[in-house]
């Protein structure tokens, strides 16, 4: 371990590394760092960027990192496989507004596909399979009255999706910002906001830690949670500052940052939405038994 889990010497701040993905969703933690919400609580925060959960989860479990950022379905999967993870703070939620979310199910402008039901027999790109994206898209299909088992999914990272859609290699994509803007700029059309369809005010991602750290240093976890909550609330109520901070840790072009739809950043995890997600995951066969949300959530 890098020493963060040992009690710090008096007056010395705890060194804490958090694994994050350089996307819009983590703007609050960057903002909170800037605003000093972590310093105030004696947390010397360092943010480590990784491409996805592949590197973050194992690093947190092995206590290389103290905390990490991950989508909730990954955390449900991890927990159901017996990985000792524990959510400590909300990450971000969908906007809850159909047609105005930070992620969307999109087709080409001239596509005959009108609703999610039309996706039957079509190919949809998702960044990873058997995870939050395809589960949400299936929810959209169901809601539109279609049979989700007739939809074909292909794994394709977000950055590659706009080109694949434009090139006609897939019929629909599910992208988050800023790729949503990219698709729109090419004349793409949104047919559903799947995160909104999946559950009301869906908690999409959360910050988590390992059970070990929680039992060894509950005080640190508590301070981190408080700092996170303050950051989330601040970001939620100061979208302009959030937009500004995004420009510092991503390479998204400034004019795009102006346009992107930001997610919601409530301080608390929406437990009901997670229950819905867990049920969907069971229904779609991602996990076998209903997960124990109490064990996962704070």
């Amino acid at each position: 371990g890098s020493g963060g889990n040992e009690a710090a010497a008096p007056g010395q701040p705890d060194k804490v590394t958090v694994g994050v993905i350089p996307i819009l969703d983590v703007a609050p933690i960057y903002l909170g760092l800037e605003k000093g919400f972590f310093d105030e609580r004696d947390i010397d925060l360092e943010l480590a960027q990784a491409e996805g959960g592949a590197a973050i989860v194992p690093a947190v479990v092995s206590e290389q990192y103290q905390f990490g950022f991950s989508n909730v379905v990954s955390l449900l999967l991890a927990q159901s496989e017996g990985l000792p993870v524990k959510v400590v703070s909300n990450g971000n939620n969908s906007t809850g507004v159909d047609g105005e979310d930070f992620a969307g199910l999109m087709v080409k402008g001239d596509s005959p596909i009108r609703t999610a039901k039309d996706l039957e027999g079509r190919t949809v790109a998702a960044n990873t399979l058997s995870n939050i994206v395809d589960t949400s898209v299936r929810a959209s299909v169901r809601k539109a009255g279609g049979d989700p088992s007739k939809v074909e999914f292909v794994a394709l990272p977000f950055p590659e999706q706009p080109a694949a859609l434009a090139g006609g290699q897939v019929d629909a994509v599910f992208v988050v910002e800023p790729f949503q803007q990219a698709v729109l700029a090419e004349g793409g059309r949104r047919i559903a906001s799947s995160y909104v369809d999946a559950a009301d005010d869906l908690t999409v991602a959360a910050y988590f830690t390992s059970q070990q750290l929680l039992s060894e240093n509950p005080d640190l976890v508590l301070r981190f949670t408080e700092a996170m909550q303050e950051s989330l609330s601040y970001a939620d109520s100061h979208p302009d500052e959030a937009r500004a901070v995004i420009g510092t840790y991503t390479k998204i072009a400034p004019e795009v940052i102006e346009k992107v739809t930001l997610p919601k950043w409530p301080a608390e995890v929406n437990r009901d939405s997670l229950q819905t997600m867990a049920d969907l995951a069971v229904e779609d066969g991602l996990i076998e038994a209903a997960p124990d949300l109490d064990a996962l959530l704070p």
Partner: protein, 259 residues
């Protein structure tokens, strides 16, 4: 013969035993006991996944590898035999070679879509280099007296290519092809990390993302076994293609073997 087999299996047996016992009581989530990995192995791979994942992967690997052989040897002959051409293309090839597959894949996707063709191209793009480089070097190193022999006896064109250039470079080409084989397996996995819905690599990544670590390990095991199997097949081919070479070089090994 028995001695040879014993030699071939001794080290693997020792290593597997070491792994078995070292991991026996493991509670580490990412390092499950070997016993557990072996338990999930058959159910993971010998079911429908054999047809849905393993075979398509192998087919793509085979096509990509074969294409790399043809392209690598063909281009290598051209580049190796022609100094000016070599000077022109070498920096460019080195440039392309240094582009990591994870960033190359999106570019290939633009050109070849997301289907099998793209995956074959990814495999080709990785396997090509060891074959190409070794061919170029092999062609450059053709014995001068042999070259002179061909020149003075007017052995040119196809005959010269087949009977001098290819044959003389073949030990090095085979060394490259051997390298390329395992690189091909690796790229088979990488190609399936992008834009896939089936394949060994895809499945392994799925297991990893789904935190099904014993299954993931069983996939790693499968890839290793695949490597051994292909290397063994490779050796059979090598023995045919390089019979003269192994015989000629046996001088050194032969003495010790007979003792």
């Amino acid at each position: 013969m028995i001695r040879r087999i014993a030699l071939a299996v001794a080290l693997p047996v020792v290593l597997v035993a070491a792994w078995w016992f070292a991991s026996a009581g493991s509670t580490d989530f990412y390092f499950p006991p070997l016993k557990r990995i072996l338990e999930v192995f058959p159910e993971t791979w010998f079911g429908p996944r054999m047809v849905d994942d393993v075979l398509p992967s192998l087919a793509r690997l085979g096509i990509g590898y074969a294409a790399a052989l043809v392209a690598g040897i063909g281009l290598g002959m051209l580049i190796g035999a022609n100094r000016t051409l070599r000077a022109v293309v070498e920096p460019l090839l080195e440039f392309l070679r240094a582009v990591p597959p994870p960033v190359l894949v999106p570019i290939l996707m633009l050109m070849a879509g997301i289907g099998d063709l793209m995956k074959v191209l990814v495999i080709l793009s990785g396997c090509l280099w060891p074959i190409l480089l070794n061919t170029v070097e092999g062609v450059r190193a053709v014995d001068e007296v042999l070259k002179d022999t061909c020149r003075s006896y007017k052995i040119r064109g196809r005959l010269r290519l087949l009977h001098l250039t290819v044959r003389s470079a073949s030990p090095q080409i085979v060394a490259g092809a051997r390298q390329a084989l395992s690189i091909g397996i690796i790229l088979m996995v990488i190609s399936e990390m992008f834009a896939a819905s089936s394949g060994i690599g895809f499945t392994v990544i799925q297991f990893k993302d789904g935190f099904r670590i014993p299954q993931m390990w069983s996939g790693v095991l499968l890839l290793g076994l695949l490597g051994v199997l292909l290397a063994w097949a490779f050796r059979l081919v090598e023995r045919r293609v390089l019979g003269w070479y192994l015989g000629m070089r046996a001088g050194i090994q032969g003495v010790r073997k007979e003792r």
